[in-house]
């Protein structure tokens, strides 16, 4: 620690003359509320990237980066806006890594980020609605929109030659949103959706739901629900009555508990779950373990990538102000250029300073599409011999 302090002090002294500054980046996540179990790892992920950059001393002639945390609460838009307002006006943050939940992210974007011209990169807001939000080019996300999963699923179905499907979804925003995006994507790809019906979680009996789904028919049944909830009840009912034998399982239905419950009777069924085979993922997990947090926790790698993108864009723009860096985010995130993995931020900063283009791959194989959201990598898996087997990445 002492050595580290001396080193940073020395670095700061050396660089001091060239206009180094202390850059602040806001980290707005729901440290209280429904996501409070995963947000500490997300915050730690973002701060790991900031520490890496500060330690390298290569950002904008040796500037350091400090994290300023704010609580989005995930559900209370007023509280989240107040926290964001404080970070922007009092702490004068250059950019915001956040927020986490789609609702508060939209509120902060519209009422704080856009009026103040501050860049926001969310690691975890997946609502399709944010794609079309009015953002003046200031909003990005390293998490894919749920609409993206719908497209992935439509492609998977097409590749497997499945033309007609029935959809059963859990009756909430996630289930409904996902079911709608799957239906739109499947129909756009020329397939048919015979029925899209909701099921309630935790109910006593699913005979009625299974009966309706079976009557509508289809080559496969898509269960956009939760593995610990009604989703398994629907599968059980459909298997028992022989209504469906092939199931397509989106991310909420991924779990090894399916192997225990149904075993080989699910053979031939398949699903998608966010995931990447990029080598950056494994590197990030090791770095996280060394830093003392869980790198496999949901959206922790996305948080690292969001923070890293902000700082790399600063370097590319040669300025820490949001107005300048906003235009550079897509440049550093996407090809062409030298690929940059986690732990190589110093190399990326050097290349940028030398005027070389980079392609930030990061922990989640970042590729921003459309208005600046992750294209999303999904792992496609299949049941073979009663076991979940990875068949590829998309």
């Amino acid at each position: 620690m002492k050595k580290f302090l001396t080193a940073t002090a020395a670095a700061a002294l050396l660089a001091g003359a060239a206009g180094a500054e202390d850059i602040k980046i806001g980290v707005i996540l729901g440290f209280t509320g429904p996501l409070e179990s995963i947000t500490p790892h997300m915050g730690a992920g973002a701060e790991l990237a900031m520490k890496e950059v500060s330690d390298s001393g290569k950002l904008l002639d040796g500037s350091t980066v400090t994290s300023v945390r704010g609580d989005s609460t995930c559900i209370d838009a007023a509280a989240a806006q107040a926290a964001a307002e404080r970070l922007v006006t009092t702490d004068k943050v250059s950019a915001i890594m956040g927020a986490d939940c789609s609702g508060v992210t939209g509120a902060i974007l519209a009422n704080v980020a856009v009026p103040n011209g501050i860049v926001m990169i969310s690691p975890s807001a997946t609502s399709p609605g944010l794609t079309t939000a009015e953002d003046n080019g200031l909003f990005f996300r390293t998490a894919p929109s749920d609409a993206r999963q719908g497209e992935i699923i439509a492609t998977v179905l097409k590749d497997r030659g499945i033309g007609s499907v029935a959809i059963s979804y859990t009756n909430n925003d996630y289930g409904k949103g996902l079911a709608d995006s799957i239906q739109a994507a499947v129909e756009a790809a020329g397939g048919t959706v015979t029925i899209s019906a909701a099921h309630e979680d935790g109910k006593a009996d699913y005979s009625a739901e299974v009966g309706a789904l079976a009557s509508a028919g289809g080559d496969a049944l898509i269960v956009a629900g939760y593995v610990d909830q009604g989703g398994s009840g629907i599968i059980q009912g459909a298997l028992d009555t022989g209504a469906f034998s092939t199931f397509m399982l989106p991310d909420g239905m991924y779990g090894t508990v399916l192997e225990e419950k149904f075993g080989a009777s699910l053979d031939g069924s398949f699903g998608t779950v966010p995931g990447t085979d990029s080598p950056g993922g494994a590197t990030f997990v090791d770095m996280a373990t060394a830093a003392g947090f869980d790198g496999t926790s949901s959206y922790a790698p996305e948080s690292y990538d969001a923070a890293a993108l902000i700082m790399l864009a600063m370097q590319a723009a040669g300025s820490s102000s949001s107005a300048d860096l906003a235009g550079k985010i897509l440049d550093v995130a996407n090809a062409p250029g030298e690929p940059i993995y986690p732990g190589e931020l110093a190399k990326g900063l050097e290349l940028l300073a030398a005027g070389t283009d980079i392609d930030y791959v990061g922990a989640t194989a970042v590729e921003l599409i459309g208005p600046g959201e992750a294209s999303g990598s999904y792992r496609e898996y299949e049941f073979q011999g009663g076991k979940i087997t990875t068949v590829g990445y998309r």
Partner: protein
């Protein structure tokens, strides 16, 4: 052939599931209706009594399985059933001694007893979760199907499969046996007759020398036995999850009220009315219609009266209609 296919599809997706579900509801509603008829209050703790009893049965099932005892094609849980009933009866009688007797002595109004039973419900809720946890448990073993959908298709050459699970067969057979035994007990034995007398007119029954404590104890024991049997059958057929039994309370009460609270026959009819209406009104008739109707009339839509989202609305609509026109239920129970 098409007509056969239509019949098989209807059996597979409507008749068999609804009959099994109806039998489970009927057994639950019988317990509720007995308590209402004799102790004169709606026992909200019944769903959790079912959960507790099933949890006990599961524990005994595990014990027997570890000792290597099993019943061949039948689930081991059947062997554990008497032990589960004994444990649950002990709990229910203990609760009566500790809680309900106090209010009975006070001649408390039924509504107070209802609230008391809600308190008991929350305690039992906690006890059950404490003993067995909140997760989902499957404890059925033995043969899973009497008729398997795939094999049925192969052997008959029909396009539609027919599945008949052994747990569904077991549910229906057990329900018939239990109901027959209960009616024999209520109508033919001395204790049963004294229970009915107590239910009809408490004061007259007391004057004629019927011991109230004995009637109460027998009622609780029978209701506990019904709860454990219903709970175990339900758990075997689907799976055990403490929270689901709490959810089951709603359709059980709907069944008891539709049939007429206090009427055992009504409870059975109510169970089947609720189960069949939930499944058949929300059923998409497209498949059946496609088989039956000539090709030119084949439907494009799903031919579904109501989306399955509304299946609970269906049972409650029936409940309201019955209560509007027959306030005492289909089988002349006590008015609510």
């Amino acid at each position: 052939m098409d007509l056969l296919n239509a019949i098989v599809a209807l059996l597979n997706f409507v008749v068999i599931p609804a009959t099994a579900y109806g039998a489970q509801l009927a057994l639950g509603a019988l317990g509720v209706t007995l308590i209402y008829g004799i102790l004169r209050f709606s026992n909200f703790a019944h769903g959790d009594t079912m959960a507790f009893g099933t949890a006990m049965v599961i524990l005994f099932t595990w014990l027997f399985q570890s000792m290597g005892i099993h019943l061949g094609p039948l689930p081991t849980a059947l062997l554990a059933l008497p032990f589960g009933i004994a444990a649950t009866a002990a709990l229910v009688l203990g609760t009566d001694r500790a809680v309900y007797r106090f209010y009975r002595k006070q001649k408390a109004a039924p509504v107070i007893l209802v609230i008391v039973s809600m308190g008991v419900m929350f305690v039992m809720n906690g006890v059950t979760r404490f003993i067995i946890g909140v997760g989902e448990i499957r404890f059925d073993d033995g043969a899973r199907f009497v008729i398997n959908a795939g094999e049925f298709k192969k052997s008959t050459g029909l396009a539609e499969g027919l599945a008949f699970r052994s747990t569904q067969a077991l549910t229906i057979v057990t329900a018939i046996l239990v109901v027959a035994a209960l009616f024999w007990f209520l109508n033919r034995t001395r204790t049963g007759k004294s229970m009915r007398a107590y239910s009809d007119n408490e004061d007259l029954a007391l004057l004629s020398g019927i011991s109230p404590e004995k009637v109460v104890a027998v009622t609780w024991t029978i209701s506990a036995a019904l709860a454990v049997i219903a709970g175990t059958l339900y758990g075997l057929d689907k799976s055990f999850k403490a929270f689901n039994y709490f959810q089951l309370l709603l359709p059980i009460f709907a069944s008891a009220i539709v049939g007429g609270l206090g009427s055992p026959l009504g409870a059975i009819a109510g169970g089947f009315v609720v189960a069949f209406s939930e499944v058949s009104i929300t059923y998409a008739w497209k498949k059946v219609a496609t088989y039956v109707l000539p090709e030119s009339l084949a439907p494009d839509g799903l031919m579904q009266l109501l989306s399955t989202d509304y299946k609970f609305a269906v049972s409650f609509a029936i409940l309201i209609i019955v209560l509007l026109f027959k306030p005492t239920g289909l089988f002349k129970g006590k008015s609510v």
